[in-house]
Amino acid sequence: MGVAMHYVGVYAAGALKDFGLTVVSTVLSMILGVLAAVGRLYGPRLIRLLISWYVELIRGLPAILQLFILYFGLNQVGITFSPLAAALIWLVLYGVGYAVEIFRSGIMAVAQGQREAAAALGLSSGTTMRKIIFPQALVAMLPPLTSFVVLQLKNTTMLYLIGYADIMYEARLGVDATNQAGPLYVMAAIAYLIMSFIIGRIGMRMERRAAAYR
């Protein structure tokens, strides 16, 4: 256990990196996800088709395989990334695939009557989306969005495999140096538990606020 205490500082730095990557990639993939969801629902036929194929591809392949194709695979054709760049691109591309579906089903969950009522009042489709549909869809989307952020956080554990120096990377180095696989991996688990817990709490608070009108 004494060995493990040496690693608390290193872990904290690694955790900060994982958490930061999660936040940045979540924001980016949500912005792209909203656009893609609207395109998937209301865009021209070709766009709708392309987006739905993209979603299937992202959901159909193991995350680790996607990361390896991006980092190691593209190397074969001369495209190289730094570990950080690869990590960010991977998390965003992967995240968009999931965010699209969350936004799409959230938008579809809003009752048809709401659209009709807005149209009957003469609201434009843009205003209807912004002022009527989206605020209501948000309530339905928050629980899956929270799990989505946790999923992205968990995905960061794989980044040590491309040499990104996060918690898992430090844990592996530590185990190599000290042979203390017990405490070091359990500590990594605890670090992720704490981060998931924080995200879950934030999600719950937002849900409560968003659902206030119900």
Binding site: L65, Q76, N155
Partner: protein
């Protein structure tokens, strides 16, 4: 195109080995997840506070830990603590133990989703609790279970791709080995991708259609 094809053909036997390992791991982990998940669901629905508490704690903690760390704990940490599991066993324990939390929640939700009137009607006929569960609640919960359970199965297959990190020679392991051998990582990873995607298509499209048919027949 020609080189891609010949590289694929050359490694096909290795990949076939990997696919078998992946499917065996998936099957064994699924079995563990379903059995343990069902017990967890029953414990969480139980009127015994202790059981409910223990099952809830297990579910909430385990499902918040990334699968990769769970695998490392099962393989490396347990070994340090004196419980040395082989790679495949550690993989089944880890994946099964993790997916049990997800299957447990699916079962629990489906059981709770059965209309209260159904349980009342069965009780009014004098049926004891066990019989009500077996003959009335579970058969109806089954159709609510199928879609999310299929969905998690396809996630489980994808997550087996992490076991190469604990020295299990699954499909992903073979793809990495082949890449290291012929320095064509893109080609070799893409072949693995095609295979994983086939599994995904089979599960998401074929099973979804079958479910729809079953449900329609019940009308």
């Amino acid at each position: 195109m020609h080189t891609l094809w010949s590289a694929w053909v050359q490694y096909l036997p290795d990949y076939w080995q990997g696919v078998r390992v992946t499917l065996e791991l998936t099957g064994a982990s699924l079995l563990v997840a379903i059995v343990l998940g069902f017990l967890l669901a029953l414990a969480r629905l139980s009127t015994l506070r202790v059981l409910d508490f223990m099952a809830t704690a297990y579910v909430e903690i385990v499902r918040a830990i990334p699968v990769l760390i769970i695998l490392f704990i099962c393989y490396y940490s347990l070994a340090q603590a004196g419980l040395k599991l082989s790679g495949p066993v550690a993989a089944v324990v880890g994946l099964g133990g993790f997916y049990a939390t997800l299957y447990g929640e699916i079962f629990r939700g489906a059981i709770m989703g059965v209309d209260r009137g159904q349980k009342e009607a069965a009780a009014a006929l004098g049926m004891p609790e066990g019989l009500v569960m077996r003959k009335i609640v579970l058969p109806q919960a089954f159709f609510a279970i199928l879609p999310p359970a299929t969905n998690q199965l396809s996630n489980l297959i994808k997550d087996t791709s992490l076991v190469f990190t604990i020295a299990v020679a699954d499909l992903m392991f073979q793809a990495n080995a082949a890449s290291a051998n012929n320095f064509l990582p893109l080609d070799m990873l893409l072949l693995a991708g095609v295979i994983y995607f086939l599994f995904y298509l089979i599960l998401s499209k074929l099973l979804a259609r079958w479910e729809l048919n079953v449900q329609r027949r019940r009308g």
